[in-house]
């Protein structure tokens, strides 16, 4: 289930009564989507755990304030993104340098795979890229979540895409001459 899939009215009513079984079922429905978001944005299991746990806890605790069941998914997504952004602002869970992907040596010539390239990005760049390209948020919505302006989001996205493409698409090798020589040798042999 992704965040755009609506919650049904019965589930919303049960959540408002703090029904434990419904809470677990709703958690199971959204768990993979929420965890993927937490991991992709934070790039770290401990931070993702913190963000996703806090997101679900706040969503279930404040469910009484939600009127429209259809808004549950987007609301949960917003809570999780807020948690990750908050972690980033506070910086209290910053990883030590040896775990900092950005501090790793330059990628090898054969490039990085997409997952590693994403993990290598600065947290804000990663958030902008993921929220726009996967979650489908507009620049205005990203600006709202990150406390920046839409033009900041646009330029950050453009710059981030260029960087990741540079990592993913290594320089083309020069045409190899020995191959021609080898072919000629084979021809001579025949």
């Amino acid at each position: 289930m992704d965040f755009s899939r609506p919650l049904d009215d019965l589930s919303l009513a049960a959540l408002k009564k703090r029904c434990r079984k419904t809470q677990e079922r709703v958690y199971r429905d959204y768990a993979s989507t929420a965890w993927t978001l937490g991991m992709r944005l934070s790039g770290c299991e401990a931070r993702a755990w913190d963000a996703v746990q806090s997101g679900f806890v706040r969503a279930f605790e404040r469910i009484g304030q939600l009127r429209d069941a259809r808004a549950f998914g987007p609301w949960l997504r917003r809570l999780i993104v807020n948690q990750v952004m908050d972690q980033h602002r506070r910086g209290f869970v910053a990883l030590p340098a040896e775990h900092d992907m950005a501090a790793e040596p330059a990628p090898p010539d054969d490039g990085l795979d997409l997952e590693r390239a994403l993990a290598r990005l600065d947290p804000l760049d990663r958030a902008v890229l993921w929220l726009h390209d996967v979650e489908g948020l507009t620049h205005a919505e990203i600006a709202d979540l990150t406390g920046q302006t839409p033009s900041w989001s646009k330029s950050r996205l453009s710059r981030t895409r260029a960087r990741v493409r540079g990592w993913l698409e290594p320089a083309q090798p020069e045409p190899a001459e020995p191959e021609t020589t080898a072919m000629n040798a084979t021809d001579e042999h025949h």
Partner: protein, 158 residues
């Protein structure tokens, strides 16, 4: 046809660790102390310290002069009273709906308030902390007082 190497949607979905639901469930259903029981010990300690300081600095109280001003409150007592009043008002307001746009700020203010409460438990006589607490409560009350509007998901009524 060449595929876009930067297509993030082709990354596989991830499965959460098995213990995550237990942690959420425990957080939701563990018996918790009401908020007043969290900060009441700090308030009690602050009053005690304030009284002791008053006696030490001023010496024994002179016989009560009924002609004089009836009640003199110290700045810290006034700050505590103001904080308690704002807390009551906030408790009354937070039962209602809140504008979704105010939610991120409210979450932040709530976290700040918890942090101030923790520091007050250590330094209950700190007037600055009590004033900071009142400022945070007042800011939260203002957010709850904002009109609720209907809008797309990003500003959906929460």
């Amino acid at each position: 046809m060449k595929t876009d190497p930067l297509n993030l949607r082709r990354l596989p979905p991830l499965e959460p660790p098995p213990g995550l639901w237990s942690a959420i469930d425990q957080h939701l259903h563990q018996p918790r102390r009401p908020r007043w029981r969290v900060w009441a010990p700090a308030v009690a300690a602050a009053i005690t310290v304030a009284l002791v300081l008053t006696v030490l600095v001023q010496g024994p109280e002179p016989p009560h002069d009924f002609a004089a001003d009836p009640i003199r409150t110290s700045p810290i007592q006034a700050a505590m009273a103001q904080s308690a009043g704002l807390e009551s008002e906030l408790r009354a307001r937070e039962q209602g709906s809140v504008n979704a746009r105010a939610l991120p700020l409210l979450l932040l203010l709530e976290a700040e308030l918890a942090w101030v409460d923790l520091r007050l438990a250590e330094r209950p006589q700190d007037l600055g902390l009590w004033q900071q607490r009142s400022d945070l409560l007042a800011a939260m009350i203002l957010r709850y007082a904002e009109p609720v509007d209907l809008a797309p998901w990003s500003t959906e009524l929460l």
